[in-house]
Amino acid sequence: MKNNRIAIITFFSGLLISVVSFAQQRFPRPDFESDYLVPSPLAPEPRWASMEILDVVILLIVLVLTSWLAIKKRSRRGILYLSVFALIYFGFYRNGCICSIGGIQNVTLTLFNPAYAISLTALLFFVLPLIFALFMGRVFCASACPLGAIQELVILKPISIPSPVRKVLGLIPYLYLGLSILYAATNTDFIICRYDPFIGIFRMDASFEMLILGGSFLLLGMFVARPYCRFLCPYGVLLNWMSSFSKWHLSITPSECVDCKLCAHSCPVDAINKPVIEPVSNRKDINKFILSILILPVLVLIGGYIGSKSHIYLSRANTTVSLAELMITQPELKNDPDHIDVQTFLASGKTMETLLEEAAVIRSQFYYGGWILGGFLGLAFGLIFMGKTIYRNRKDYEPDKGNCVSCGRCMDYCPVGKPDFDEIMKQIK
């Protein structure tokens, strides 16, 4: 018996199993006879301690400048230079972290998690672009967003994507937005940050997969302009709402449109509405519109129901829930010394019961979150559908305020008001 004990002790020390000591000192602090002074550990200040305020100021300046360039000065070139600056400063210099897109999650976490309080700068980063979009359009996308800027700069030969495809792909951001809010609210993960394809490029350091993803987005971006902005960006959804009702959005032409269609071809993101002449009263369309209003609440309910049904697999992204499930489905894992999560859990002395209780609480959060998420998606999809049943007759080419990212290419192409306008007119004729 005695032998056993000794053997076990040596075995444990061999495994280096650590006993975390609570300031309990096995070895007393020595009394030095020499004049040795006990140093204290260095504590370098956080790298950007004072820079956060500067960031907000720069963001504000960039937004103001872009608005002025887009609406008053009508300078594509200025916007382009600003976007290069934003890419270098917010992207490569500040490594892409503090970012309005990710700010969605910080705001959500603040609202749902009593333990977290958003920092003022992060809140400003979230709010400022939205306020600007509400009045000036998506000037943030044009030049302040490093993700937008890097995609803007690689646009080579953008192809026009047919409207139905665009609309369908345009549903993804709503899904992404909903999921990211759900995961942030449940304190599970910040998926926007985690799957940001360009952050690895800004940092010049990331996991291999993410770098490949970023590279592919850039390659794709040469031919499909701004793929992330248009078909993924969750912040774009909010900006789209704001910008759709913006007060002073940029206009393509400074005065009369001459119907030259140059702008429509210049726009890389297909955000220019062409003139429409339809017979005004189409009974069928009106019926459809009314129908789509009527099915809206039904869609919300269906969406909510499906969302609530989905809470089980959605909640698996949560580490507590997935660990609890793992412990149940694969109890043999506790014998796997290399499974760090399971081993740490076992060593923590937390009981399985506590774990299950925690998991159940998170599950129920996901259940209610699922209802809200599904309901939101039902509403959003319904409204998008509704938007496609109505239209308005237009005489001129006009920017699609929601989707226009204010890059200013169309203004550059618009011949009206240019000195050599006449000459170009002649060419066209």
């Binding site: 020390s13 061999g14 280096l16 650590s18 006993v19 975390v20 000591s21 609570f22 300031a23 000192q25 096995r26 070895f27 007393p28 602090r29 020595p30 030095f32 006879e33 020499s34 040795y36 006990v38 140093p39 204290s40 550990p41 504590a43 370098p44 200040e45 956080p46 790298r47 301690a49 956060e52 972290c97 999650q105 705001v107 609202l111 977290y116 309080a117 958003i118 920092s119 003022l120 809140l123 979230f126 939205l130 509400l134 993960d189 940050c193 985690r194 940092r203 350091d205 990331a206 704001m242 759709s244 009702f245 913006s246 007060k247 580490t319 760090i340 740490t344 859990f345 060593a347 923590s348």
Partner: protein, 191 residues
């Protein structure tokens, strides 16, 4: 002119747009007001609670930086200044010589200096340290636990969501106020 149907439609449209804009503005105002009521002037940084840390080694592998922004820190006032240091020497060390065959640290980032009989000082060369926590494990198991892992804020990019915080099996990494960015053992005691 004023009563032409087109003008009416335009007016109606403008009214709808203003209403929508107002609603959206109220929306932003509401959300940000709520957030503002809870917001702090303080920034957040990520930091490790050394009492929760189990030295699983993920800090070295998963940090977005290579090498990791997590480094080993030495709380000298907890150190026993042992000759046989569990953080410096491999377990079952043959002789207390600083040769590579005896050193636990894979990058030889720990410096061992003789102070006086029988005490030795151990300092970390953070340029070499990769934050693997092997020495921390050794020190906690055999010594006072004066070596511990901390996120170095001169290196840390302060990501919005810290990768190692998400992957930490013991949830030892949490947000800390930027005014108190370190949890050094010794000053920092478990509440």
């Amino acid at each position: 002119m004023e009563k032409s149907p087109e003008n009416k439609a335009n007016k109606r449209r403008e009214f709808i747009r203003s209403t929508a804009r107002l609603t959206l503005a109220i929306g932003i105002g509401g959300v940000s007001g709520l957030a503002l009521s809870k917001s702090t002037k303080e920034e957040w940084v990520w930091q490790i609670d050394p009492f929760e840390c189990t030295q699983c080694g993920r800090c070295a592998e998963e940090c977005v930086l290579t090498p990791s922004a997590v480094k080993c820190v030495h709380a000298f006032d907890l150190c026993g200044y042992c000759d046989l240091c569990g953080g410096y020497f491999k377990p079952g060390v043959i002789d207390l010589h600083t040769g590579a065959e005896n050193q636990l640290c894979p990058t030889a980032a720990i410096k061992r200096d003789f102070i006086e009989e029988p005490f030795f000082e151990y300092t970390i060369d953070e340029d070499l340290c990769i934050g693997c926590g092997k020495c921390v494990k050794g020190c906690s198991a055999f010594g006072n636990g004066s070596l511990h892992l901390q996120i170095r804020h001169d290196l840390c990019l302060n990501c919005n969501q810290c990768t190692i915080a998400r992957l930490c099996p013991s949830d030892a990494i949490t947000r800390a106020p930027a005014s108190k960015p370190y949890n050094f053992k010794g000053d920092f005691t478990k509440s």
